[in-house]
Subunit: 386 residues, 2 copies
């Protein structure tokens, strides 16, 4: 039995993400661990747990059957193995789950390694709002359109919106499941998963044919975090599973991002906590995400700027006089000169010039702001150089 077959066998023996198993394999190698267990040797309590599963193991047959269904097993040493997964070995477990996977079962035409070289995970609540679904879809479409693979979990709500956004871009996307890659959970997402198997990737640590359990979802979440350079959380209530993925992202020192929403919306509460605590950076659009996850300098965003206003094009002197014209009440020119701290003559000639541009108006009572100045009168730009 070679290393690949031993990994397939151990993958079926243990539960995905069991830290004892991944630790033993890292220490002794997969073939040695398999041989010890096959010989009914107890190691760190694993034998007792897996004894019943040892009977009838046939990894070579597993691989052949999977291959016949277009499913491959990708493990360390393979050209397609994504190096980002190895970082999991250095992380403390959560719920006794952690470590690098022994291998991944994969369907789909993309190279797993290439997809993960530029990848962003987009996760969130199953009970998402239309707001969350729209934003997740728009962010996924933007990053996928720039060639980044959108990684998610194929669940209802935000996950589904993320995959769909990427598909519409069109761009690469990958579903990471808590059941075998041949299964559809939820069943309603069979067409989505079939599409991803034909055009993107469907990935799981759980052997072919296996059903999802709660622990398998927890183990799966660490893979979503580890397969990408960063994770965007879009709507996550306070106890959402997406926060488990967020926690893994931080443990892996990957970039954690959160999309805010109304403070009155329960599905945004968990995200707001992540941002408030400093764990996540606030992002509002795909450009923000790429600026954070792309190689430095590659996707710099232009700062948000309001539209140019007519007054922005005025000279310094013109602005100084205009700033001294009262907002609501006409006053004589000498009063404006005093407020501006300028001589009367220059103020009068400046006011005449500003009147030509519609910035000020003049009548018997004096000078007041004109239509071109009014929209901006109370909202100075904080970005204008002082």
């Amino acid at each position: 039995m070679n290393d690949r077959e031993a990994r397939v066998a151990l993958n079926r023996l243990g539960e995905p993400g069991d830290v004892r198993m991944s630790g033993l394999v890292a220490e002794l190698g997969a073939e040695r661990v398999y041989t010890l267990l096959r010989d009914e040797r107890e190691i760190t309590g694993i034998y007792t747990d897996v004894a019943q599963r040892l009977r009838g193991l046939d990894p070579a047959a597993d691989l052949a059957q999977a291959d016949a269904r277009g499913i491959r097993f990708v493990c360390p040493g393979d050209e397609e193995w994504p190096s980002g997964l190895d970082a999991l070995s250095g992380c403390e477990p959560i719920y006794r789950r952690g470590g690098a996977p022994l291998g991944l079962w994969v369907r789909g035409p993309l190279s797993l390694r290439e997809a993960c070289a530029r990848a962003v995970s987009v996760v969130g609540s199953r009970s998402a709002t239309t707001y969350g679904v729209d934003v997740a879809s728009a962010i996924a479409a933007h990053v996928a359109g720039q060639g980044f693979c959108v990684v998610s979990g194929a669940a209802f709500g935000i996950d589904q919106a993320a995959h769909r956004g990427a598909i519409a871009a069109p761009g690469p996307t990958m579903a990471v499941l808590a059941c075998g890659v041949d299964r559809a959970y939820p069943a309603a997402h069979r067409p989505l998963l079939d599409y991803l198997a034909d055009n993107g990737l469907v990935v799981s640590e759980v052997p072919v044919g296996c059903a999802p359990t709660r622990l398998r979802f927890l183990s799966r979440n660490r893979l979503i975090a580890a397969l990408a350079q960063g994770t965007v959380v879009v709507e996550a209530a306070v106890r959402s599973g997406a926060l488990n993925t967020a926690s893994w992202t931080v443990r892996l020192s990957r970039v954690l991002m959160g999309v805010p929403g109304p403070v009155t919306s329960a599905p945004s509460e968990g995200v707001h906590e992540l941002i408030r605590s400093g764990g996540a950076t606030l992002v509002t659009r795909g450009e923000d995400v790429l600026e954070l996850v792309a190689p430095a300098g590659e996707h710099l965003t232009a700062p948000h700027r309001g539209p140019m206003r007519p007054r922005d094009r005025l000279s310094g002197l013109d602005q100084q006089v205009l700033d001294a014209v009262p907002l609501a009440q006409a006053v004589p020119a000498h009063s404006i000169a005093r407020t501006a701290g300028l001589g009367a003559r220059v103020v009068v000639s400046t006011l005449s010039r500003l009147r030509g541009g519609g910035f000020v108006e003049h009548d018997e009572a004096g000078w007041r702001l004109g239509p071109a100045a009014l929209d901006a009168s109370l909202t100075p730009s904080p970005r204008r150089p002082a």
Copy 2:
């Protein structure tokens, strides 16, 4: 002419926040600066600017007339002077405006110093959404209800909502104006300002009778930041004046807070930029604000927690077995035992116990999750101890 009268005179001579004037007064004292200017001595270019205003100055009459209208002048050395303003002297100016004010014109029954000892500024766009107005009002009501004075600018939108929230609490609130405290800008807020003059505070650096200008709004913003321990920005478009107040808050090393909103809402864009850049801490409710601005430990918030679920009360063994029950498909007990890594006998007895609580169901096909477990099946709590 004493120090107070000299300050009243210089206050009328210079524009509010003119850094040259505040710098000179800090260096030479108000009486000396006034004497120099009165004697037509040029100092740092100020004399030329203010020469026209020197004629007809009568600070004693200004003070008497103000007093007759229930307006007082509060300046350094007075018992009512809020010490937080002094920090402005150490700040770099913006738009050539900065420095501590020479004094403030004040209406209202509260002590300015006491109000500012526990104060939170709440600012934002005039063109606010109903969402922003509701959140600003709720936050103001909470902090005012805890005895913190809500400081704002009496403008339309967020400012108005902040004052109203505080009034409804009921709690203290203060308007800081860009015109004389006897004037109402906007005119529609005359009743609000009258109410504040009777029950709270109306404050301005601009002499009584003077009209607002754009520069006076900029100068006013630094006072809003300096009069409180922290500033909450609720909705601010990218070029909102509230961002100018935010900038002063950071310069003063006070606590800057931002309320997020939908990323699709333009009035929230400026706030999201503040949070994203790390300048502002995200807050969603009054409790968050008090935790940040109150003396350490005085207003600690409980962490956001989801509601308890039935499964939270299960023992460790019960949870371990339950976590191994597939979500969608009935399976025999020995399959669950393998997934859980437990012996068959203990799993069968645990399943029977779980069945009593409605966590699992049993039929000919085997065991599946029951109604008590289903709501929580995919959303593990990230806060449960590992």
